[in-house]
Amino acid sequence: MGNLLQIENGESVKRSDIPLVPFDRFAKLLSDFVRKDGFIVQFFAFVEGDGNRLLAVVRNSHLYVVSTEVGEDFPSFTASCSEKFHMFEREIAEQFGITPVNHPWLKMVRYHANYRGVPDVFGNDYAEDIPGKYPYFQVEGEAVHEVGVGPVHAGIIEPGHFRFQAMGEAILSLEEHLGYVHKGIEKCAEGRDIAGLVRLAARVSGDSTVAHAWAACQACEHAIGLTVPRRAVAIRAILAERERVANHLGDMGACCNDVGFAFAHVHFSRLRELWQRQNAAIFGHRLLMDVVIPGGVTRDLGPEQINLLQQDNEQLRHELDDLLPLLYEYPSLQDRLRTTGILSLDKARTLGALGFVARASGECWDLRRDAPYAPYENVTVAVPFSSGGASSNRVHVRGGEILVSLDLLDTFLAHLPAGEIGSAVPPIPAPCCGVGCIEGWRGEIIAYVRLEAGGIVSRYFPRDPSWLNWPALEVLILGEIVPDFPLCNKSVNGSYSGHDL
């Protein structure tokens, strides 16, 4: 692969080993890689000495890393190669004031002054409230009207702003303007120790607390060469699968509720509540927050608890035997879900969509199967997928994923390795960095962590799958009617907090 350095998921990488190539070489490597169906895992800037560096982590069936040095601008990859770069380039422009020249839609992501204190790429002085001087995209015409929604929405939901251009009920364009819950997580991480970083990571997106904490732990643990006991790793997977099940249950019910099928909402939130109560009883927290810590986990499982969790699986399977066929076949429900909010396979690939959103469109990628990390390397992970790309397909895929998670939970519970549930974090003598990749319930969650000697965090870049799935919503909503937006939005369910950081 020339100058691309192959790395393993969660392997330690010396910062001095990361290839630093001239920009032209960097551009060719990245463009060639992405054109051959490569994905961008992370692409971000940082300051090293007096210069600006760009670092890209990319994957096909393996992970690779490469970096380069740039000045105040660079030719946009979005313009020359693929839309997959577009969010990353906007973020680089916002965070570091480095302009991707000819970017077709250079819009801020979260609306804040850049970290370097150089002139603003977007012409904002940040004296005005969000969105500053940004002109929203508008469609003109006699019958065209605009619908603005948010940031405060009608229901119990995170804040964000949506602009619809509509003709009658048909949506001609949707522009998402997020950034309202930007609270400076990346900056907030700097200067923390590892334990502090993981507590913060657990709050990047509360519904994915296990997966984000695990990704941050994995990045740190492998950066410093800390081996996590096998029992702790298995318990982490149990936590992650329980998190997946809880969220799928809640969202499947909520999708049905958004088209007025309250029956499913009542039953799925009932099942979710029972599941969460068991979480509290066994792991001490209804959402499993702060159970994953550097080196391991805080809670062990005794025989009685293992038994309880196994019974949980059995009961949930039994319930879903009733509910899933009913959902999949109920005519008035399916009438609303089928063909609503279609994301084509082509669009899913172009945008680099992730997780169940991509899998429901036929892009069948799951880290647990395709780039497995412990303990998934020793189990078979079935990956439900569909080719329809509609809301019904996303609901269906998630139903399938619950059943797969229950099988995995049974396997992990039945073969829980003996031993400790944690290792002590050793002294950290030299600067190092690591990448953690975990398949959360929304899709792959990536954490890049750079540590200084003494174990102080100097860069944390968490990439929630929502980051890449939000643009998919802008695409799949086209031509749908405004009243179907809640359904389409819920069927993707991006995290606002995970996007805004």
């Binding site: 609306y111 804040h112 405060v152 995170e158 309202y180 609270k183 907030c188 029956f263 009932r270 969460q276």
Partner: protein
């Protein structure tokens, strides 16, 4: 159609059938109901604003509406407009970008404008504190009547917090 009815029949009424498991809910809820009757007549309307949370608090806010807690039976319900709200329930550290929206939501409410800061972030900024992007505690932006600690507070802690603020009125 029949499959829906059959499933509903088989599941039964959760809200009433498991009182032994949910006595705390019933006790707290009934106490709330009495206070609501004293202060507002019949019901308590809540407008929630996520001012920057990680969405953990929102998950638990949804939970208080599920069949087990079902807080509507105590006269407590969430409303879409601040103009219909008696109580503002705010989560998260207040991000700089939500400062104006939160302020305006608060301005739009009729008296008595009761404000509860829900969760550790709303209480003191939590893990995020005060930074270029975060104003920290809700009290740094609007006057707060009560704080419900927890990360996130459980449904029962939320109900208890609402009861405590009502008892003070």
């Amino acid at each position: 159609m029949f499959s829906v009815l059959a499933k509903s029949f088989k599941t039964g009424c959760l809200t009433e059938k498991i009182p032994d498991r949910d006595t705390t809910t019933v006790q707290l809820g009934t106490a709330c109901q009495q206070e609501i009757a004293r202060i507002f007549g019949k019901s308590l309307a809540i407008r929630m604003v996520d001012a920057g949370s990680c969405n953990g608090c929102e998950l638990e806010m949804h939970a208080v509406n599920n069949s087990f807690y079902d807080i509507e039976r105590f006269g407590i319900h969430f409303v879409a407009s601040p103009r219909h709200a008696d109580l503002l329930l705010v989560t998260g550290p207040v991000s700089r970008h939500m400062q104006a929206a939160l302020q305006r939501t608060h301005d739009a409410m009729p008296d008595p404008k009761i404000v509860i800061a829900m969760g550790d972030c709303a209480a003191d900024g939590g893990e995020f504190g005060v930074s270029y992007a975060s104003c920290g505690a809700v009290a740094n932006v609007i006057p707060v009547d009560a704080v419900i600690r927890g990360c996130p507070p459980t449904p029962l802690q939320l109900l208890l917090g609402i009861l405590e603020v009502l008892q003070r009125y």
